[in-house]
C-alpha cells in the first residue's frame, strides 16, 4: 500500500486526477435513450448493480431481463432479442463476457452481425480482485472477432456519447465500461464518432497514442512535460475496432518518438495495432509501450496496482522523460 492510502482491496479508483465526476454515466445515458428508442432492451447476468444499468431497469422494467449468473445465456438471449428487432444492451464484467461467452459473441452475435451491445465492467486494472476480475486481455480477445466494434472510452462524457452512438450502430459492439463515479475529462461539446481517433495535443517531440482512461493520464502527462520543455502530442483512439489506421499513421509520421498507453496487456491490444499500422504504412520508428505485462496481476488496492504497473500520470511522465 502507498503511504496514506486506506482503500480496501478491490475498491475502485479509476480517477487519477482532481477532476469533477459523474455518477453512472452509462446507466443515465441508457435510461435517457430508452425514451426515444423503444427497441432498446437491457440485460445483465447478476451484475446490474455493479454495471450501472439499474437506471434503465427502473425506467423500463418490462424491457429489462436479469438472466442470473449465466454469461453464455446472457449473450444467447440478447441474440434472440436482436432477432426480433430489439437493440439489447447486455452488461457483465469484461472477464466473464470475453472468457466465458466467447463462442456466443463470435457465433451468435458477430457471425450474424446482430445489434447486440456487450457493456463490460472492470476493464484492465480497475479492480483489485486479481486475475479473476481484471479484464486485462479483453481487447485482444475481442479484436479477433470479425465485424465486432470495440470501444474503450476515456471518461464520463465519452461514455455517454458512445452509448448514444452505439444505440444507432448496425452490428455487434463490445464497449468497456467505467462505472460508478467517473471523471469528466472532455468538455460537453466533445464529439465521439465510432472508428475515429482524435488528436488532442500537438507534439512533435513525442507522440502518445492512447485509449481508455490512459488518455486522461496522457493529457496530464503532456501538460506536465510541456513545463519541462518536452512537447508531447496525444492521439486518443477510443475505437479499437475498426481501427483508425489513417489517423494513427498520420500522427506517427509527425512526431519523433511514439509511446502507446493502454489499460490492457501490451500484447494484442492498442500497442499491437499501432505497430501493425506503422509497419503497414512503412513508418520505421521506435514504439515504447505503456500497459500491463503479459502475466496475471495480483490483488490489492487499485491505486497501488496502477502505480506499480505504470498506469498513472507520473509513470507516463517518467517513461517519456527517460526517452529524451
Amino acid at each position: 500500500m502507498e503511504a496514506g492510502r486506506t482503500l480496501a482491496m478491490g475498491q475502485d479508483e479509476a480517477v487519477d486526477g482532481g477532476r469533477q465526476s459523474v455518477e453512472a454515466p452509462f446507466g443515465r445515458a441508457l435510461a435517457r435513450l430508452g425514451q426515444s428508442h423503444p427497441d432498446i432492451v437491457g440485460l445483465t447476468a447478476d451484475l446490474g448493480k455493479y454495471t450501472d444499468i439499474l437506471p434503465f431497469r427502473d425506467a423500463f422494467p418490462e424491457r429489462f431481463f436479469n438472466v442470473g449468473m449465466a454469461e453464455q445465456n446472457l449473450v444467447a438471449v440478447a441474440a434472440g432479442l436482436a432477432r426480433t428487432g430489439k437493440v439489447p444492451f447486455a452488461t457483465t464484467y469484461g472477464v466473464f463476457a470475453t472468457r466465458r461467452a466467447y463462442d456466443f459473441i463470435a457465433i451468435a452475435l458477430a457471425h450474424s452481425n446482430l445489434n447486440v451491445r456487450i457493456v463490460a465492467g472492470l476493464p484492465g486494472l480497475t479492480t483489485g480482485y486479481g486475475g479473476t476480475h481484471q479484464a486485462i486481455e479483453d481487447l485482444a480477445l475481442m479484436r479477433m472477432i470479425p465485424g465486432l466494434t470495440i470501444i474503450d472510452p476515456c471518461d464520463a462524457t465519452e461514455i455517454e456519447a458512445a452509448t448514444e452512438a452505439i444505440a444507432e450502430h448496425q452490428g455487434p459492439v463490445y464497449m468497456r465500461l467505467l462505472r460508478g463515479s467517473v471523471p469528466v475529462v472532455f468538455e460537453p461539446g466533445y464529439r465521439f464518432e465510432i472508428g475515429k481517433a482524435g488528436r488532442l495535443r500537438g507534439g512533435p517531440d513525442v507522440g502518445i497514442i492512447s485509449t481508455g482512461f490512459m488518455t486522461e493520464r496522457a493529457l496530464d502527462a503532456a501538460d506536465a512535460l510541456r513545463k519541462q520543455g518536452i512537447s508531447a502530442g496525444v492521439l486518443h483512439v477510443p475505437t479499437i475496432k475498426p481501427f483508425d489506421a489513417e489517423a494513427v499513421a498520420e500522427f506517427a509520421a509527425g512526431v519523433g518518438h511514439i509511446v502507446t498507453a493502454e489499460n490492457h496487456v501490451v500484447v494484442g491490444g492498442l500497442a499491437s495495432l499501432v505497430v501493425e499500422t506503422l509497419f503497414d504504412a512503412g513508418i520505421a520508428k521506435t514504439v515504447t509501450r505503456i500497459g500491463l505485462p503479459d502475466r496475471y496481476i495480483e490483488c490489492g488496492a487499485v491505486p497501488t496496482l496502477q502505480a506499480k504497473y505504470g498506469l498513472t500520470t507520473d509513470a507516463v511522465i517518467a517513461t517519456i522523460a527517460a526517452l529524451n
Partner: protein, 282 residues
C-alpha cells in the same frame, strides 16, 4: 397460408406421407455427395413434418413476417432435415437438393443463417435454446402471440448453456416456448457417451411442462404439440425418442449413424430399401 391447419384437425395419414416425402428429399441430398447426416435427418423427419405442415404458423411467401412462429434448429448438422422441410414448404426449389454439401451450395451440411427460412446459426451446440428464450422474450415485449420452437438433441444437453437457458425460460414463464429434444441415442463418439437419463425428469425439475413420446409416431407427435399449445405459464419440453436412420433398415442398424459416407454403387440399394419400407408403411 399462415396456419397450416386449424388446431385439432390433423390428418395423420397426410402428415405421415409428408414425413415420407421429407425422407425422400433427404436421400436425394445425401446421394449428391455420397455423405451427410442422414441418420439424424431420417430420425427427426416425423417431427419436422408435423411442425411445418400442421403446427407452425408461417407464410412461405413472407419469411420475415414478425408474427410468425419460429423454428430454431440448434443442431446445425441436422440441416438435411430442415432443407427437406423448407423444400416441401416451397421455400427452397426441389432442384437444389442435389447440391447439399457441395461447394457454393446454400444447403450446407451445418446451417448458416444466410439460407432462406433459417432462424439461427446452428452447429456450435448449446446455442439454440438461449436464443429461443431471447426470441420469446422479444415477442412478449411486442405483445405477439407467436411461439418459438427449438430443436435440440440428447448429446447437446451435455452443453451447460442448455441448462442456463432452461433455467431462464421457466423463470421468465415463457409458455410460448417449446423445446423438442431429439433423443436418438447417438453422438459424435458413438452411442451417447454421458448418460443423460432421466431426460424428462431433468426438464421437469427445471420447471418445464414435459411430454415424452415416440418421436416416430405421428399421432403421438401431433398430440404432444397440441398439448404444448397451452399458455399456462410454463415452457414446454417434448422429449422425442427417435430411431436414427428411420425408414432405411440398413442405416437404422448401422453403428456409424452419426455421419454416413456411402459408396455410389450402394445408393440404388438404399433408395430401393427406403421405397420398399415406405410402400409397406403408411
Amino acid at each position: 397460408m399462415p396456419r397450416n391447419s386449424p388446431p385439432g384437425t390433423a390428418d395423420i395419414g397426410a402428415l405421415e406421407r409428408k414425413a415420407t416425402q421429407l425422407r425422400r428429399h433427404m436421400l436425394t441430398m445425401a446421394r449428391g455427395q455420397g455423405q451427410g447426416y442422414i441418420g439424424q435427418g431420417l430420425g427427426i423427419a416425423d417431427a419436422l413434418a408435423a411442425l411445418y405442415f400442421h403446427e407452425l404458423r408461417y407464410d412461405p411467401h413472407n419469411l420475415a413476417w414478425p408474427d410468425r412462429d419460429r423454428f430454431l434448429l440448434s443442431t446445425g448438422h441436422y440441416s438435411i432435415a430442415l432443407w427437406a422441410a423448407l423444400t416441401e414448404a416451397g421455400i427452397i426449389p426441389v432442384e437444389e437438393l442435389v447440391t447439399y454439401g457441395a461447394d457454393n451450395s446454400r444447403l450446407e451440411m451445418s446451417t448458416l443463417d444466410t439460407t432462406p427460412g433459417v432462424e439461427m446459426i446452428g452447429g456450435s451446440l448449446g446455442h439454440g435454446l438461449g436464443q429461443g428464450v431471447g426470441q420469446a422474450l422479444g415477442l412478449r415485449v411486442d405483445r405477439s402471440d407467436a411461439r418459438v420452437f427449438v430443436e435440440l438433441s440428447d448429446g447437446e444437453m451435455q452443453e451447460g448453456s442448455t441448462w442456463e437457458a432452461a433455467m431462464s425460460a421457466s423463470h421468465f414463464k415463457l409458455d410460448g416456448l417449446v423445446a423438442l429434444i431429439d433423443c436418438n441415442g447417438i453422438q459424435a463418439d458413438g452411442p451417447v457417451v454421458l448418460d443423460m437419463e432421466p431426460v424428462a425428469g431433468k426438464w421437469r425439475a427445471f420447471g418445464w411442462e414435459t411430454f415424452e413420446i415416440d418421436g416416430n409416431d405421428m399421432t403421438a407427435v401431433v398430440g404432444a404439440l397440441a398439448s404444448a399449445r397451452q399458455r399456462n405459464g410454463k415452457p414446454k419440453a417434448i422429449v422425442l425418442r427417435t430411431l436414427p436412420g428411420k425408414g432405411v433398415p440398413r442405416i437404422e442398424s448401422s453403428e456409424k449413424s452419426h455421419f454416413f459416407r456411402i459408396d455410389v454403387a450402394q445408393w440404388g440399394g438404399i433408395i430401393a430399401e427406403f421405397e420398399k419400407s415406405a410402400g409397406a408403411g403408411p
